[in-house]
């Protein structure tokens, strides 16, 4: 027994000494923020994403691996606006004091961008809605810019010696991202009649940016899984008010959208939604390239 404890002690000492010289550790709640952290932090950061594209970021277990990753993180970088309310608080309880709400290492993207769908009155009968508004903020590339700047500001404070490095990384990113935005914005969606049915309100920021209209949602209420009864009534409604595309995220089940697609004879597609949401979308630039081109395909059909 005594030997076992001695072994643990030695382990702790070794690891702590190792930690002192390590890079800035960024714990991202979602893959898009991990990708952004890599863009800005480059070789000076070590990133980890708590979720992958096939996981619904609302519903994650505060599993053991996340506790240890969050505990060792210098920055906790998430969407915020209560998206991670079901699991992040547990991780924070065991994390360091510098990543607690209000501290320098606690970065919630939703705090730095204009929020859509804010509700003044919330009741649970409305489904799983949050008074803070829609948290899926990353699909408007202008939001990425805003968050990139805030992340850089934080990195410059946390890792002061590399101040210039982060500024250069940001400048480089801003110029490439700015160019990319103007390219994406050459696609005009407003003229054409793209009318979408979404699964959950996961794409509101994308549609707001591109001037696309979502006419219906497969979920009867946010966070409430589609029911047969609701889908039947949706089908009737959509016959009067036609839609021409159904979109969902890679983590949302396909059955409801496939069923509706079959009944309405319109296409149902998966938009990548986040990094590695499909095999093409392996960084932020390609995520938007791919998303815009998938929508464009239908728009000019």
């Amino acid at each position: 027994m005594r030997r076992f404890f001695a072994l643990i002690l030695v382990g702790i000492i070794l690891l702590t000494s190792h930690l002192a010289q390590a890079e800035v550790k960024i714990f991202a709640c979602e893959p898009e923020w991990e990708a952004l952290a890599k863009e800005i932090g480059g070789k000076n950061v070590k990133t980890f994403s708590a979720t992958h594209a096939k996981q619904d970021p609302h519903h994650i277990r505060a599993r053991p691996s996340l506790i240890s990753k969050a505990r060792n993180a210098n920055i906790i970088f998430c969407s915020g606006a209560d998206l991670e309310i079901g699991w992040l608080p547990i991780l924070l309880q065991k994390a360091s004091s510098s990543v607690q709400p209000g501290e320098i290492g606690y970065l919630m993207a939703a705090d730095y961008v204009p929020i859509l769908e804010k509700l003044s009155q919330v009741d649970r009968s409305m489904g799983d809605v949050h008074p803070k508004g829609n948290a899926h903020v990353h699909l408007n590339p202008h939001n990425i810019l805003l968050v990139a700047k805030e992340l850089t500001r934080r990195l410059k404070i946390i890792d002061e010696p590399n101040n210039n490095f982060y500024q250069a990384q940001l400048d480089n990113f801003l110029s490439r991202w700015g160019t990319a935005i103007s390219n994406w914005e050459k696609n005009d969606f407003s003229a054409k009649k793209l009318k979408l049915v979404v699964h959950h309100k996961s794409f509101s920021y994308l549609f707001d940016w591109l001037n696309i209209k979502a006419v219906a949602s497969l979920e009867p209420k946010p966070g409430i899984a589609p029911t047969t009864k609701y889908l039947q009534s949706l089908l009737i409604n959509l016959k009067h008010k036609p839609a021409n595309l159904i979109v969902r995220t890679p983590y949302e089940p396909s059955d409801a959208s496939e069923w509706l697609s079959d009944k309405l004879k319109i296409r149902a597609i998966v938009l990548p939604y986040t990094i590695n949401g499909d095999k093409e979308s392996d960084n932020l630039f390609k995520l938007f390239d791919r998303t815009v081109s998938l929508l464009q395909e239908v728009n000019y059909d």
């Binding site: 996981q55 619904d56 599993r63 053991p64 691996s65 065991k94 607690q100 801003l174 089940p253």
Partner: protein, 446 residues
């Protein structure tokens, strides 16, 4: 709009520059080109920057966010309201085939007995919790339950816990007061989060549903990549499996260790080992006050949990396997007043375990099966024929359940139990249960 104009200018400049540079050397042309390229990128970057600044200014008009490092400020731990208030409504309808449900060979506390037959409002829980300031978190859970026709309020939990802002080393936390302490898997969870309508046999028998003594516990998450958490506690020794503490001081202590991690993308696991040890200086009464025990109790627990989300998204489909093994050593004196055994010296061990599988095959529906079994101690001659004499029978229970979850706040469950707790008595139990919550709903542990 502005942007399109500007990019037009950039192109004009570009054209002009390239014409102008015709007469220059190739090297000059290249230099100019790259400069223009740089200018262009800079422009577009700046424009985007300006646009976003504009957005930000607009945003800031109706919102003020302050990132401060000031201490002494009240900070909510993931909650907007302070305090957060939550209520759990829990009701059941039970039907049993057997009139009695004695558990052979064990001292069983009140909470460990089977639930009441017919309609019953089980524990109705009230929870208040909040960050007290930047250094402490506090939580109170009380339950209103009915016992033999009387409505009782039980203080299930009332604890404070240090927040990371307290200044302990990273990953370390101290909890004091009354709480469902870290022991095995289920103990620190409130029963409304359980996957079955009742607790498995070892919890009912060894812990009277759960160990929530008064005391203090320290825990530490190691700075390793693999999750490793160790901890220890000191308690009054006033709650099952211990008796009433006769004197002041620490009557019981505990220690635990846990490791856990992920296997590829969609599986995770956790293994734990714990011990809780103490003495009943005063006596512990059980079995409707007919059985008393005075002495030392050591309880060892090993627990394992594994989750697997076949599609990656655990909300859609998920398999959860869970099991715990208990071993208890008792060294003291038992007395069964019904069998008039008098005081009998007892130094023996008993054990119990359960294993369960729950499969979510649809976002709303889950199926589960559980098996629990107990192995009673061999009784000394003085206790033959007493309640502790199981007559060679190992109590066991089979359970199957199906539950429907409308949202994370409401769940309805159907459960069937086949309990063989005493030689020759088989009890078929059918339960319909609802568990609903409103108000704040704390994030769930793994």
């Amino acid at each position: 709009m502005i942007k399109k104009h500007l990019s037009g200018y950039v192109i004009l400049i570009l054209l002009f520059s390239s014409n102008h540079a015709m007469s220059a050397s190739d090297k000059d042309i290249n230099t100019l080109r790259s400069e223009i390229q740089n200018m262009k990128q800079l422009y577009e970057g700046k424009i985007a920057e300006l646009e976003s600044k504009l957005d930000k200014v607009k945003e800031n008009q109706d919102k003020s966010i302050a990132i401060t490092n000031s201490t002494g400020k009240r900070k909510a731990l993931g909650k907007t309201f302070n305090p957060s208030i939550g209520l759990i409504l829990n009701g059941k309808y039970n039907q049993f085939s057997s009139g009695s449900s004695e558990i052979a060979g064990f001292a069983v506390g009140h909470e460990g007995e089977r639930s009441r037959e017919g309609f019953t409002v089980d524990h109705t829980e009230f929870n208040f919790s909040a960050s007290i300031d930047d250094k402490f978190f506090g939580s109170i859970t009380s339950a209103i339950a009915e016992h033999e026709g009387k409505t009782e309020t039980e203080l299930e939990e009332a604890f404070i816990q240090t927040l990371p802002g307290f200044g302990l080393p990273n990953g370390m936390s101290i909890k004091a007061g009354r709480a469902f302490w870290t022991l095995g898997y289920l103990n620190e969870h409130h029963s409304h989060t359980d996957d079955f309508a009742d607790r498995p046999l070892p919890y009912r028998i060894f812990l009277n549903e759960g160990y929530n003594d008064d005391g203090v516990q320290i825990s530490y998450v190691l700075p390793t990549d693999l999750y490793v958490e160790v901890g220890a506690g000191g308690f009054r020794g006033d709650d099952f499996p211990f008796g009433s503490a006769a004197e002041t001081g620490i009557g019981a202590w505990s220690a635990f260790g846990r490791v856990g991690g992920d296997i590829s993308n969609n599986q995770s696991w956790r293994l734990g080992a714990s011990i809780v040890s103490g003495e009943a200086d005063g006596s512990r009464t059980s079995n409707e006050d007919l059985l008393t025990y005075t002495g030392d109790t050591d309880l060892y627990v090993a627990d394992v949990r594994y989750t697997y989300a076949p599609t990656g998204n655990g909300r859609e489909k998920e398999l959860i396997l869970q099991g715990e093994y208990f071993s208890r050593e008792e060294d003291g004196i038992y007395a069964d007043s019904e069998a008039s055994t008098g005081n009998v010296i007892f130094d023996n061990s008993s054990s119990g375990w359960y294993g369960q599988a729950v499969y979510k095959f649809n976002p709303r529906w889950r199926l589960g099966a559980r098996y629990s079994q107990m192995n009673p101690a061999n009784v000394p001659s003085g206790l033959v024929g007493s309640m502790l004499d199981a007559n060679g029978h190992d109590p066991k229970a089979y359970s199957v359940m199906v539950d429907w979850t409308n949202s994370e706040f409401s769940r309805v469950r159907f459960q069937y139990n086949q309990e063989e707790l005493t030689e020759g008595i088989d009890d078929s139990q059918f339960t319909i249960q609802y568990v609903m919550s409103f108000g704040a709903h704390a994030a769930h542990k793994y």
